[in-house]
C-alpha cells in the first residue's frame, strides 16, 4: 500500500488482484445477492482507496482499512444509519442467551438451511457475521471498523450465533 501511495500503478493492480474477488463476494452477500451492485461497490471501494492513498499510514492494517471503506459503502447504500442504530441498541440491551440449542442435521441440509437463514438475517447481524466468519477478521479489526469496543463485538457475535441456531432449528422442524 505504501507503493500505491508513491504512485505505483503496478502495486495498485496487485492489491486489486489480491482483494477484488474477496471484496466483491462480501458485497454480493451484503447487498442481497445483486451481482451488478456488488461489482460497482467493489470498484467504488478501490477508487476511494486510490484517492485516499496519500493518507495511508505505515503499519496500519490494510484489510481493516479496506473493510472500513466497504462497511461505510454498505451503510450508505442501504441507508442503514438510523435503522442500524435502533436495531443494535435493542440488541445490546438484550441479555445473553445461555440456552443450548441442539440441532441435528446432515452437512448437505445444513448448507441449504444456512444459505436461507443468512439471506434473512437483519443487515447489521449479517454484516457482523460476515466480517467475523466469512472474511475472517479478528475481533480487534472488527472493533476498529465498527468503532465499538471489543467486548461489544464479542457479545453481538454471541447473539448472532444464537439467532442463527434458532433459525436453523426452525428450518429443520
Amino acid at each position: 500500500m505504501l507503493r500505491v501511495g508513491t504512485g505505483s500503478d503496478a502495486a495498485f493492480e496487485e492489491l486489486y488482484r489480491r482483494y477484488a474477488r474477496r471484496l466483491q463476494g462480501f458485497f454480493f452477500r451484503q447487498l442481497g445477492g445483486d451481482e451488478g451492485a456488488a461489482a460497482d461497490a467493489t470498484h467504488d471501494t478501490f477508487l476511494r482507496l486510490f484517492e485516499a492513498r496519500d493518507r495511508y499510514v505505515e503499519g496500519r492494517d490494510f484489510a481493516t482499512w479496506l473493510f472500513t471503506i466497504a462497511y461505510n459503502l454498505c451503510r450508505n447504500r442501504y441507508r442503514l444509519n438510523a435503522y442500524e442504530s435502533d436495531y443494535l441498541t435493542t440488541l445490546d440491551a438484550e441479555p445473553l442467551a445461555m440456552e443450548d440449542i441442539e440441532i441435528e442435521m446432515d452437512r448437505e441440509t445444513l448448507q441449504r438451511a444456512l444459505a436461507a437463514v443468512l439471506d434473512n438475517l437483519p443487515p447489521p447481524l449479517r454484516l457482523l457475521f460476515s466480517l467475523r466468519y466469512e472474511e475472517e477478521l479478528t475481533v480487534p479489526q472488527i472493533s476498529t471498523i465498527l468503532e465499538i469496543p471489543g467486548g461489544t463485538v464479542k457479545s453481538r457475535l454471541h447473539k448472532v450465533m444464537t439467532h442463527i441456531r434458532r433459525e436453523l432449528k426452525e428450518f429443520k422442524d
Binding site: 474477488r21 463476494g25 452437512r107 444456512l114
Partner: protein, 149 residues
C-alpha cells in the same frame, strides 16, 4: 450429527467459497481509466494515417517544373493587356501575356514574355475598324417619299 458452532462456520465458509468462485470480477477501475487516453490517441493517429493515404490516392500529383512548361505551350492564350512604352510612345518590344493554365485539378496563372511582333497581327485579326455614323440630314435618303406612302 449434532451441530456445533464450528460446523456452522465451516458451512458458511464453504458457501462463501462457492459464491466467490462464481463471481465475474471486472478489471481494475484504474486500468480502464488510464488506458482510455492512449486508445483515444491511437484512434486519432490511425485516422490521420488512413486519411493521408486516401488523400494521396484521390488527388492528382502536383506538376513538376518541366511538365508545367509543356502544358503552357499547349494552352497559352494571349491576354489583352499590353504594357506601353515610356512617355506614351510606341508599344514596348516585349509584352507580358498572362496565360491561364488549367490542369485536372489545379488552376494557375503565369506571366511569360513573348516577342511583340506577333502582337500587331493578333490585334488586327481580333478587332475590325468601327464604321463612323452619319446624321439623317446628310445621309441622302429622301424621307419625304417614305412618309407619303
Amino acid at each position: 450429527m449434532k451441530l456445533q458452532d464450528s460446523d456452522i462456520i465451516s458451512a458458511a465458509r464453504d458457501l462463501r467459497d462457492e459464491q466467490n468462485e462464481q463471481l465475474y470480477v471486472a478489471p481494475s477501475p484504474l486500468k480502464g481509466r488510464r488506458t482510455s487516453t492512449p486508445l483515444w490517441w491511437g484512434a486519432v493517429a490511425a485516422a490521420l494515417v488512413v486519411g493521408f493515404f486516401i488523400g494521396r490516392q484521390t488527388l492528382s500529383p502536383l506538376p513538376r517544373e518541366g511538365e508545367s512548361l509543356a502544358s503552357l505551350e499547349s494552352s497559352a492564350q494571349p491576354h489583352p493587356s499590353i504594357t506601353g512604352g515610356a512617355g506614351g510612345g510606341s508599344p514596348a518590344i516585349i509584352r507580358e501575356v498572362i496565360h491561364e493554365v488549367v490542369h485536372d485539378t489545379i488552376y494557375e496563372t503565369r506571366i511569360v514574355h513573348v516577342p511583340a511582333a506577333s502582337q500587331q497581327l493578333q490585334t488586327a485579326q481580333a478587332e475590325p475598324a468601327p464604321s463612323p455614323g452619319c446624321s439623317m440630314l446628310c445621309d441622302d435618303i429622301r424621307y419625304d417619299l417614305l412618309s407619303g406612302n
